[in-house]
């Protein structure tokens, strides 16, 4: 039989199946995907470049806006790096406040993802239900930090706001709501026939591939890799409590590494986060939440600092990694952000291969991509027609030089 000709489908950067701009190019034969390529860089804002022109207190706010969904993770990772370089001792209570907010962020992010995943399957009822449930976490975050998005609570040396005793009942109320909802969510997401049909054995990433492609977070755990920064290299208050990586075998019998397993991992991480918040609140110490209240002193300490450090945080999507180098100046000499989607995105090439066109949205969404986290560097491939020619590159380079001279 003569092989059928392949044809080309571009998806993105603006497409209803994508929540964020990214360009996919698929080689399709019949209904089957034979080749995958993608071009990120559509949300590149040059945050690292800007950060190297600002001081650490200002960068904390820039970090919040790397990604509106996992704002705390980025700020926490950056603050940890700076605190290590400048040898700032963060008060015990601040660690607990940071961890509790980070766990609430995980709850809202996973529920957000669950809703988006249901939407990608065409199951809009479930999408609306998941987002209604998510509002409870948003309310608590707003109650505790003052903002629904971009909380701005973490800063170098501690946290900006403390929890008061009269705020605790509201937190417990939210935890009880989620504990009551767990059974319902599991039934809706994991026992539904439509979801089982669409997600089981779809977009499979084997354990070996997950390891070789250096995936992180729920994507790696769904394939059976027991990695979790909270357990492997505890930070903030996670050293004081028991955290174990959640693998799909908490619900299913076998680990397959398909889309369904990724749903299992994320849903049971929500359950685990509720348990973690309870543990943290039980042990919460008293005391100050800031190493130093005067910004001038924080800045002076950072200015004197010399050295390099990394901050690693388990964001809802996986490991979030910040590298900072300070060299006795107001601004960092170097700042590198490696967000979790950066590690996870290469698995797309593997899991999309051989699947059908109709499964593209859910498989793309299954690693919970966050392009605004990822687009630190524009990807430019030379020699590929239509992407960027030598003249374009030269033109860009000249333009940039001019801008920098101004």
């Amino acid at each position: 039989m003569a092989s059928k000709p392949t044809y080309n489908i571009p998806i993105g950067p603006i497409h209803p199946a994508l929540k964020e701009p990214i360009l996919f190019t698929f080689d399709i034969q019949g209904e089957v995907i034979k080749g995958v390529d993608f071009a990120p860089g559509k949300t590149h804002r040059g945050i690292e470049w800007m950060g190297m022109r600002r001081n650490p207190v200002q960068i904390a706010h820039l970090c919040d806006r790397i990604c509106g969904i996992c704002g705390v993770s980025h700020t926490l990772a950056f603050s940890r790096a700076i605190e290590q370089i400048a040898e700032i001792e963060v008060p015990e209570r601040a660690h607990y406040v940071r961890s509790i907010i980070a766990e609430f962020e995980r709850i809202q992010s996973h529920l957000l993802w669950a809703g988006v995943a249901a939407h990608e399957l065409g199951f809009d009822t479930l999408f609306h239900l998941a987002w209604r449930v998510r509002e409870e976490a948003m309310d608590v975050i707003e109650y505790l930090t003052g903002n629904r998005v971009n909380y701005g609570i973490v800063q170098v040396g501690g946290v900006r706001r403390d929890f008061t005793d009269d705020q605790f009942p509201r937190i417990y109320q939210a935890l009880e709501t989620y504990e009551g909802l767990v059974g319902k969510l599991v039934t809706l997401f994991l026992e539904d026939t439509t979801i089982k049909l669409r997600c089981m054995n779809c977009g499979v990433l084997s354990e070996r591939d997950a390891l070789e492609l250096c995936t992180v977070g729920p994507t790696a755990r769904a394939s059976g890799l027991a990695i979790d920064v909270r357990a492997d290299a505890p930070y903030a208050a996670y050293g004081d409590i028991d955290v174990k990586p959640i693998l799909p075998d908490v619900y299913a019998d076998a680990i397959k590494g398909d889309v369904y397993d990724r749903i299992v991992v994320r849903l049971f991480e929500v359950v685990d986060s509720v348990r973690i918040i309870r543990d943290l609140m039980d042990q919460m110490p008293t005391g100050p939440v800031l190493w130093e209240t005067k910004y001038a002193k924080i800045l002076a300490t950072c200015k004197k600092a010399e050295g390099e450090a990394i901050g690693r945080v388990e964001a809802p999507r996986g490991e979030c990694f910040h590298y900072v180098r300070m060299n006795r100046s107001e601004t960092p000499e170097a700042w590198k952000v490696k967000a979790s989607t950066y590690s996870n995105q290469m698995s797309w090439l593997k899991i999309l291969m051989g699947e059908q066109i109709a499964d593209i949205p859910i498989i793309v969404a299954s690693i919970d991509p966050c392009m605004s986290c990822t687009d630190r560097v524009s990807v430019i491939r030379d020699g590929r027609q239509g992407v960027m020619t030598g003249d374009d590159l030269h033109h860009l380079s000249v333009e940039k030089t001019r801008r920098m001279q101004e």
Binding site: K19, P21, R45, R65, E135, N150
Partner: protein, 143 residues
Amino acid sequence: MRLSPSFNRSLWVFHFNSGSCNGCDIEIVAALTPRYDPERFGIKLVGSPRHADVLLVTGPVVHDMADRLRRVYAQMPNPKVVMCIGSCGQSGGVFYDSYNLDGPVGDVIPVDIYVPGCAPRPEAIIDGVVKAIVLLESLEEKQ
């Protein structure tokens, strides 16, 4: 605003992410979900700019997306209203000194309604959409 007799058309919105941090984007979706439920007024997100009355733009318009924003704007049928959601679309916000911005949004396409905030609350976004309805009504009368 004469909502009751002239609410003859439901408002369909198209969402364009021009390089935002996702903060405004999740608030737009949060504004459409059951807590606020504007779908009872027929307001919903659509997948194509050719079906849309209102264009919601988030983000500071990075270089790669500027041309795409112009093309999406050109594809929308008249009368149309453009809403710019979030501080970074108005002035660049925290990204004001970035080398990769072609924005703010107002420099790329004409904007009718600005919703400030980083990120604006869903209530603020809905308030902006209500103002868009009034504007659309007056645009229709002129036609």
